[in-house]
C-alpha cells in the first residue's frame, strides 16, 4: 500500500465514526427526505389556507364525501398492507413480502384512479386552473396544486413499490429496502390526513 493510500485510509477511518444517530444510512436518508418533503407540503397547505382565509367567496364545490372517504380508506389500508409486507420480509417470507408489496401497489393504483375520477368530475363541472363556476378563481389552481402534488407522490410510490418489490424478489434488495420504501409510503398516507380536511371537508357544500 502506498503512502498516499494509507493516508487516505487513515482519513477515512478518522471520519467513519459510524452512521449518524446510529441508524442505517439509507433510513437516515429517507427520513431527511421526509422532513424536507414535509416542508414542501406544509408550504403548499399554508399557502392554500392563506388564500382560503383571504378570500370572501371561496368555493364549496363538494356535494358528497363518498369518493374522498373511499380514497382515505384505500390509502389507510395500503399502509397496513405495507406493514404486513415489511413484517413478512423481516421473518424471511420472501413470497409473502412480495405479495403484500404488490397488494400495496394495487391499492395505490386504485387510490390514483379514484383521484383522477374526482378531478374529471370537477373539470366536467367547469373547473380549470384559473376559473370555476362557484367563486374565487384561485380555488382551481390551489386545489390542483395540492392534490396534484400528493397524487405525484402516490404515483412515484407505486412505481417504487413495483421496482423495489421486483428487485427484492430477485434477491438484489433486502428487508431494509422494503422498510425504507414503507417509510415513504406511510408519509404519503400521513400527508393525506391533512389534505382531506383542509381541501375537501372544509369545502363541503352545506
Amino acid at each position: 500500500m502506498s503512502e498516499a493510500d494509507s493516508t487516505l485510509e487513515g482519513h477515512a477511518t478518522g471520519l467513519s465514526v459510524g452512521p449518524a444517530f446510529s441508524i442505517p444510512t439509507k433510513k437516515l436518508a429517507i427520513w431527511l427526505f421526509i422532513i424536507a418533503d414535509t416542508m414542501t407540503f406544509a408550504a403548499c397547505l399554508v399557502a392554500y389556507g392563506f388564500l382560503r382565509n383571504g378570500s370572501a367567496d371561496w368555493p364549496r364545490p363538494f356535494h358528497s364525501v363518498t369518493n374522498v372517504a373511499l380514497m382515505t380508506f384505500v390509502l389507510l389500508t395500503s399502509s397496513l398492507t405495507m406493514l404486513i409486507g415489511l413484517r413478512a420480509a423481516r421473518v424471511g417470507d420472501k413470497a409473502g413480502a412480495f405479495r403484500w408489496t404488490m397488494i400495496t401497489a394495487a391499492l395505490g393504483i386504485l387510490f390514483a384512479l379514484l383521484h383522477v375520477r374526482e378531478w374529471l368530475g370537477l373539470i366536467h363541472e367547469g373547473m380549470t386552473l384559473f376559473k370555476n363556476p362557484w367563486g374565487n378563481g384561485l380555488f382551481g389552481a390551489s386545489f390542483f396544486s395540492v392534490t396534484g402534488l400528493h397524487l405525484t407522490h402516490v404515483t412515484g410510490g407505486v412505481i417504487a413499490l413495483f421496482a423495489v418489490g421486483m428487485r427484492y424478489r430477485g434477491g438484489r434488495y433486502n428487508a431494509d429496502d422494503i422498510e425504507v420504501l414503507g417509510l415513504y409510503w406511510h408519509f404519503v398516507d400521513l400527508v393525506w390526513m391533512f389534505v382531506v380536511p383542509l381541501v375537501y371537508l372544509l369545502n363541503l357544500a352545506h
Partner: protein, 104 residues
Amino acid sequence: MTTAEAGKSGGMGKDLVVYLCLLALAGLQFAIAFQSIDTSQMFVRMLAVAIVEAALAVLFFMHLWTEKRGFAMFVLVFTIFVLLAMQYGWTDSTRMVVGAPFSK
C-alpha cells in the same frame, strides 16, 4: 430496540389497533365536517384530529417510537420548529378579507 428487532418481536395486533384507530379518527374528521359550527372552529377540530392521526402514524407505522431517542427528538424538534415558523402569514391573510391597508 432497533426497528428490525421491534418488527421481529411485535405482533400484528398493535398495527391492527393503530390502523383501526386511524380509521376511526378519519371518520371523526368526516363527522366534524357535518357539524353545525363555524368554519374556524371546524378547522381547529379537524386539525387537532389530523395531528393525532399523524402522531400515531409516525410513532407506530413509521416506528419512530422504537428508534433511538436522539433521532426521534431530532425529527420532532426540527419538524415542529419549521412548521411553526410557517405560521407568520395568517394575520396578513385576515387583513386581506377585511380590506385593512398595509401598516406604514
